[in-house]
């Protein structure tokens, strides 16, 4: 309960600041509506079935995109951690790919993939895999020497060492990457929906913007923010069985 209070405290402060800024007219209500209006808009959304269609469309894309991105990122990082040649060969090209701006990439991608769901997922996956990839390759490249030596002694092959020693040891850090990827997947999904239209929260934001419905636009952004928090919880829930030991282990250093 106390924890819940602490977790929501920061958000409450944010809302209070918002209300102060809008109530005092510091920013024109045309561009930053009062909380009451946004709240009403959220309520109108959640009580309409149409909204939920868009909502689940976004959530589905995001979850699929994130899952695929995480699997690809970890798989490539694992293979790269196993073969030094590959790791080095991939280094500059991944550095390049990570920094290419999607607005420039999308027209080129249309050329290759056409305007299809594949394009949609490509953009999401491409956008959100890097955080996990960088974390994974960073964590997998350095390890506790004694652990690796132990594994070598007991006859683990290089692949098994990778899978059974390096990967579990890297898990806590990989989950930091996944945590970042999760929010990027949401970001990339809504941004792509804005670009390519169709269903989804991003398309709704785009429409609201074009229709000058600021309250709806902010309502949607609030909903995306809350979705971000929910995603973080989801990642934490998956993290617990895979890397929860680390939290308990580290917690021993505090007064017990």
């Amino acid at each position: 309960m106390l924890l819940l209070a602490r977790r929501t405290f920061g958000l409450l402060i944010f809302l209070v600041i918002w209300e102060i800024v809008t109530a005092t007219g510091l920013v024109s209500p045309d561009y930053m509506p009062r909380l009451a209006l946004i709240g009403a808009a959220i309520w109108a959304f959640v009580t309409s079935g149409d909204f939920w269609l868009n909502f689940f469309a976004t959530v589905q894309r995001m979850l699929i995109g994130l899952s695929v991105a995480v699997v690809i990122a970890i798989a490539v990082a694992l293979v790269a951690a196993r073969f030094a040649l590959l790791r080095r060969a991939l280094e500059p090209i991944t550095d390049i790919l990570r920094s290419l701006p999607p607005p420039a990439l999308v027209p080129l991608l249309i050329f290759v993939l056409g305007i299809t769901p594949a394009l949609f997922y490509f953009v999401i996956i491409f956008g959100c895999m890097w955080a996990t990839y960088i974390s994974a390759s960073n964590a997998l490249s350095t390890v506790e020497p004694v652990q690796v030596n132990t594994a070598k002694i007991y006859g683990l092959t290089d692949w098994q060492i990778l899978w059974q020693i390096r990967l579990p040891a890297a898990m806590p850090e990989i989950f930091t990457g996944i945590r970042l990827s999760a929010s990027v997947s949401l970001l990339a999904t809504t941004a792509t929906e804005m670009l390519l239209g169709g269903q989804g929260l991003g398309a709704m934001i785009y429409n609201a913007g074009f229709s000058l419905l600021w309250d709806q636009m902010y309502a949607l952004m609030f909903i995306i923010g809350l979705l971000g928090i929910a995603m973080n919880f989801l990642v934490a829930a998956v993290r617990y069985p895979l890397a929860g030991w680390q939290s308990r282990y580290s917690a021993m250093g505090a007064a017990a």
Binding site: S28, I110, G114, G197, S211, L212, L213
Partner: protein, 298 residues
């Protein structure tokens, strides 16, 4: 039934094609339409080039520009047109606060447009040249449409080019004293009708599917007619597609075609003339006979 993949930008003018599909007009013309939404000009062109779309609608000026740069595309139908003074979709707006109260005063100012090297910059250059002002002195800043009004309001830019609904929004704002500097995409004589939106396709597709293009335009004309007759149909689509409330939908003016749907080269001549005049297209680079393939669908 022939399938046509249509790429378009999701802005209010889409109502006509949406209506043509939903009301069965397309089907009646033996056409099966697959819609693809794209965000901007670059995506639109690659959508056609990659085969993701067969035809698309874009600003007429962009189609001409693309052709002049060597893209193998041609206009085969005119989506909508503009005609001064009664039929107007483009506005140049300044403010008293910024001191941009006439075209001459734009010199040396910062101007907000949706994209550089676009119809929006053409609009400023064309009107400024006509007013004897020097457009090379202004600095263009590209901003997304929804951000243009606020940029003008807080003084980030001194003038903007917009269409609806942003024009209405700016003019009715009580925070600034907006001034209409000019109407129309280009400076033109009263009564001159020129193309704004154009349906285009790759040369190759057009050569092979002229019949489809004809039926498509015929269907679009029917759709326009029915919509012009009954505004409530327009509103219904706006409400469904953009989630607009009734009031907003009603207030959204639409560039519904006023006169004829037939594409004629003379609808593009004023445009080309201004584009050449302002340096967007090199003189002699573009032959309108290549760029515009009038399809007589009647």
């Amino acid at each position: 039934m022939d399938t046509v993949k249509v790429a378009y930008m999701k802005i209010p003018p889409l109502v006509s094609i949406k209506y043509a599909i939903d009301s069965g007009i397309m089907e009646a013309h033996d056409l099966n339409i697959e819609l693809t939404v794209v965000n901007g000009g670059p995506e639109l062109m690659t959508a056609l080039a990659s085969g993701s779309a067969d035809i698309g609608q874009t600003a007429a000026g962009i189609a001409l520009l693309a052709r002049s740069k060597g893209l193998p595309i041609a206009v085969f139908g005119t989506g909508d047109t503009e005609r001064q003074p009664d039929y107007n979709h483009n506005w140049l707006i300044g403010t008293e606060e910024a001191g941009t109260t006439d075209l001459k005063s734009l010199e040396g100012k910062t101007i907000g447009v949706v994209a550089k090297n676009s119809p929006a910059t053409l609009a400023f250059m064309s009107h400024m040249v006509a007013a004897g002002a020097d457009p090379s002195t202004v600095e263009f800043v590209a901003l997304p449409f929804p951000q243009l009004p606020s940029a003008l309001e807080v003084g980030n830019v001194d003038a903007v080019h917009v269409g609806e609904p942003f024009h209405g929004m700016i003019m009715s704002s009580d925070k600034i004293n907006a001034v209409e500097l000019a109407n129309g995409l280009i400076h033109s004589d009263e009564g001159t009708e020129y193309a704004l939106g154009a349906w285009f396709a790759q040369d190759k597709w057009l050569a092979e599917n002229e019949d489809i293009a004809k039926r498509f335009l015929a269907a679009m004309e029917q759709s326009y007619r029915e919509l012009v007759e009954d505004r409530s149909k327009v509103n219904a689509i706006l409400m469904a597609e953009f989630g607009m409330p009734e009031g907003a939908a009603n207030a959204t003016p639409l560039p519904l075609k006023a006169k004829s749907f037939t594409t004629t080269i003379d609808q593009y001549e004023p445009l080309l003339e201004q584009m050449v005049l302002t340096g967007m297209i090199e003189d002699g680079k573009l032959d309108l006979n290549d760029a515009v393939r009038a399809v007589d669908y009647k």
